[in-house]
Assembly symmetry: C2
Homo-oligomer: 392 residues x 2
């Protein structure tokens, strides 16, 4: 085969790929195009609203082109943010310098946003979720479907609850999740990245062409710069999205100690193993593949451990000997590194279950953050379980 | 539970871990301690020789303390390198500033090194392997066992051959492999890292206390700063060790294009998937777990993709538009980036098997390096197979 043959072959592969993409969407049709609403307008909320608005405009047989985005209205130099977004088509406060599609409409009225929506995308800060959901109660269509872009879970006395399950329970609508190796500004700038959408077809599915399915979600979220895979493992991607922040603290510690890339990779390896074990233990419906095959699994773990708040706080602790609280104060302007909260919640839950010994890395991070255990004990602590294998 | 209770608990965990480590080794005994030889004395060869010499000194009931290290002798300022190593206990040429144990003895005579050895550790550059093995033929004990620290495989007309299988076939002795997220200088400085040793107990195993087994290999390689897990999947760790370099080129391309961490994580995710598929397709005895659970799998991939020769060459190509050859010349002083060779061998093999379309990332890297396909086509090329899943 000559070089030019090979080039031809490549072009054919590319052509086939593009054709298939088009045909897969053009084959789709629904009886009544779905109305899409995004709840939230921070940098990630606005970015996702941009993504889906581009797609609703492109597929009018599937979606009503206009996308409502609920905005908690505030004044910017005396002018309403909603007004600015709807006239300048830019979220000057939370996603400056990114042009938004004209079919994306900011709306300050939460109930008005929710009431006609067939697909509701949640993308608000975790701490506001319950208040917002409370206000939406009784105002969503009983046939609506939802996707949560919030990462993580809540750990209470009853155990680990996924945020998507919280939305399902409160609003009595089926809810999936979106998670991946996505930094909002990069996606907004249309730098290529990937994500995972998880959605389980509910038992009250109304049938092809009448209800949301995996192909509809692919058409809604997939962009040339934002590659989507749709699976059904909501628990898997939610667990991975929460625990990666704890693993990132571990990476920050060993980097801060000056132990180099080998050590950080080792922490990520052990972390991936504990994430899988946590998922399988508390959500037996999880698939192991989700964690090592999906963007929301191994890729998000790698991105998070290569930088970001958790790594920075942990490195600072290692280098200065300061506490997590002090490090957060000095680096994050009053914001928090999510791993600090999550490792405590996870520790308390594992303690209740008497399962701490099964998760030596998660426990090591907790002990370092809250009980001043020395960081250089991590290798000994995580070796605990590896020993078993040899002796079995 | 109070903070101090928790600290006590942690100490107990640590104590248990240490006790178990000690007991696991102290329980081991063999009829006649094994003689260990290391073939090779580059920076990785000398580092591994240091590791095993520390352990043979520690466990005289398992190993003869003296470890021979075969050195291709050369003059350093008129003095023999062998002499320098044996008097100064430092490999001034290939691992300067690292003190070597006194029970590690440099020996320029390959046959003399080989003839009494019960465990032979190969750690030479790939291109010298066949010549060295040729010289050893007829001079190794028929009961000897070997471990190859060389990464990768050879692809010829007959298909993919592991380097450990090459050693097995040529010397008629059982051979395993060692691979992991290990940069030699970091391990030499005793910065913590992890590795994987793979060894399959052969059918002519002579019995506990008489032959090499997984516990013996753990005792030989495990150090407080070098954590070892021993498994039996030689093919898995060898495939991962070779293909990671091709994936690293892909990461370098997207980094060089300025696409950021999300994109690099995406390439690693797709790469891990193709590595697993390659392993399972050509070595059905591979375990999927090896790739996502072991240091030689996901951790080595992460380390390699976070830096090193392949990433540097690919970034340089992306930024300057130069060819792989030019980039290697400008950056590597006549050395080569292994991924450049491997992606070609793999492409040719997959072409023979008519399986190119199953490995879009490996193929994309090949096409970019050898056929000037544009780097920004990677997302389209690797999306090819993802599409299938949605449509199934």
């Amino acid at each position: 085969m000559t070089a030019s043959d090979r080039l031809n072959q490549t072009s054919q592969i590319l052509d086939k790929s593009i054709n298939r993409c088009n045909s897969s969407v053009s084959l789709l049709h629904v009886d009544k195009p779905f109305k899409v609403t995004v709840i939230g307008s921070g940098n990630w909320g606005t970015t996702i609203a941009k993504v889906v608005s581009e797609n609703t405009a492109l597929h009018p047989t599937l979606f009503q082109p206009t996308v409502n985005m609920w905005v908690f209205d505030e004044k910017i130099d005396g002018v309403s943010l909603v007004h600015i977004i709807n006239t300048k088509h830019e979220n000057v406060k939370y996603l400056p310098d990114i042009k938004l599609p004209h079919n994306l409409v900011a709306n300050p009225d939460l109930v008005d946003c929710a009431k006609d929506a067939d697909i509701i995308i949640f993308n608000v800060p975790h701490q506001f979720l319950s208040r917002i959901v409370e206000q939406m109660k009784g105002h969503v269509k009983p046939t609506a479907r939802a996707i949560s872009c919030l990462k993580g879970f809540e750990v209470g006395k009853k155990g680990v609850q996924l945020l998507s399950s919280f939305i399902e329970d409160e609003l009595d609508i089926t809810c999936g999740a979106l998670s991946g190796a996505n930094l909002a500004p990069e996606v907004a700038k249309e730098n290529w990245s990937e994500t995972t959408v998880a959605y389980k077809i509910p038992s009250n599915y109304r049938g092809d062409g009448k209800d949301v399915d995996h192909r509809v979600l692919k058409a809604l979220f997939h962009r040339p710069y934002f590659h989507v895979s749709v699976i059904d493992d909501i628990a898997g991607i939610s667990i991975a999205g929460a625990l990666k922040n704890v693993v990132a603290l571990g990476c920050g510690f060993v980097e801060g100690l000056g132990w180099g890339n080998n050590a950080s990779a080792a922490i990520q390896r052990v972390g991936l193993g504990e994430i899988i074990k946590f998922g399988q233990m508390f959500f037996p419906e999880c698939h192991v593949e989700t964690f090592y095959k999906e963007s929301a699994g191994v890729a998000d773990l790698i991105t998070t451990c290569s930088g970001g708040r958790n790594v920075r706080v942990a490195k600072h602790m290692a280098k200065t000997g300061k506490s997590a609280l002090e490090a957060e104060k000095e680096l994050l302007n009053g914001q928090s590194a999510q791993g600090i909260v999550t490792c405590k919640e996870v520790h308390e839950w594992l303690e209740t279950c008497e399962l701490i010994h099964e998760f030596p890395l998660l426990e090591a991070v907790y002990q370092i953050v809250y009980n001043h255990v020395a960081m250089d004990k991590i290798p000994d602590m995580i070796d605990e379980l590896d020993e078993f294998r040899i002796e079995q």
